[in-house]
Symmetry: C2
Subunit: 210 residues, 2 copies
């Protein structure tokens, strides 16, 4: 939830940045504690200590607040852990996902629930996931460099296969968290990758991006 | 969405059964067309042609209507298709899931969205999924009988791995439907299963259920 600017852009200075930090922290806290139904511009303004006129002018409504919270999450410098193996990297990623979905209060679960209520929040959440999966592609690149996998792997499909059971079990099926699931889902995806499940068809290997 | 009773129970007769069919059809149609926000006992009563006093008395509120709709779905005789191979059976299952999540209007997607609003609907949806996954375990039993897989497989983990990418891509990530995804997710899970990803630890094989 750091609001550090992307490299090359000057840090927005002083008061404006401070107000954004305060307001987005209040959105997180309200959402995690009381859920989407209780989230209003007024409750966020009151909790943040920022004048409600300022919050209305800059964020307009609950959709605007959630969108900015989600977009601000992409401004961090998060990178997947390098553990030295594909299976280890995927397990580390899955442990982070499991923690974010099971901690109480879980801002991740609250944002997913909110995405079913606000189309604007849904689009912002999908941009955030897209950014995260893109950053995770390095996990597959490292596995190729180590010789664990052949070149020409569909990295996104592998990453989705590795992480999907966590979301499905914890968000949709609502099964109690299984401490072995992060490792098990990672191992399953790594075994499938070794068996060729994510190899791109050979004849399209050279024309990627056309 | 058939409301046929489970075998061995006499079919509830006449008017009561007819009213339930009418009311649940109206819940489906309202939910699919207008979403959870527009769903009220009154709108369901009006659409079904059943007197609102009857609907209030029997279903109480929106949570009661959704719960009964979900529970009625388990009353059918749905079974997974037997295609002659593990990969084929999982692909057929995934095609059904992809269709249910992408058809317009999609009652499945509407019920998932509603489960984030009503705890009662969430519990009913999870009971339904549990029932469906249980019925699908025969897919793994058949694969063992054919000699495609060794005995002692964690059938539920295999089924969740095979189907999770569909739910993750279509419900949470909101990616456009990929016509190859049902087959691809099935193939990935089958390859992982052949590589031993879902073998239960040997020493616990005999004490299952203890």
């Amino acid at each position: 939830m750091s609001s550090a600017p992307p490299p090359g852009r000057p840090r927005p200075g002083g008061r404006t940045a401070r107000i954004r930090t305060q307001v987005l922290a209040a959105v997180s806290a309200e959402l995690a504690e009381n859920g989407y139904d209780a989230l209003t511009v007024d409750s966020v303004a009151a909790r943040s200590g920022v004048h409600r006129t300022t919050v209305y002018r800059r964020w307009r409504d609950v959709g605007g607040l959630l969108t900015d919270l989600l977009d601000s999450t992409s401004d961090d410098d998060w990178q997947p852990t390098d553990t030295g193996s594909l299976r280890g990297d995927l397990a580390a990623l899955n442990r982070e996902i499991q923690t974010s979905l099971t901690e109480r209060p879980s801002i991740a679960t609250a944002l997913i629930a909110a995405s079913f209520r606000s189309d604007e929040a849904a689009r912002a959440l999908r941009r955030l996931w897209d950014d995260r999966y893109e950053r995770c592609e390095v996990v597959v690149e490292r596995a190729i460099q180590r010789g664990e996998l052949p070149p020409g792997i569909d990295a996104r499909a592998l990453l989705v296969a590795a992480t999907a059971p966590l979301y499905h079990q914890l968000v949709l099926l609502g099964t109690p968290p299984d401490p072995r699931l992060p490792e098990h889902a990672a191992e399953t995806a790594a075994l499938a990758a070794s068996a060729g499940a994510f190899d791109r068809p050979q004849d399209s290997g050279d024309v990627e991006g056309e």
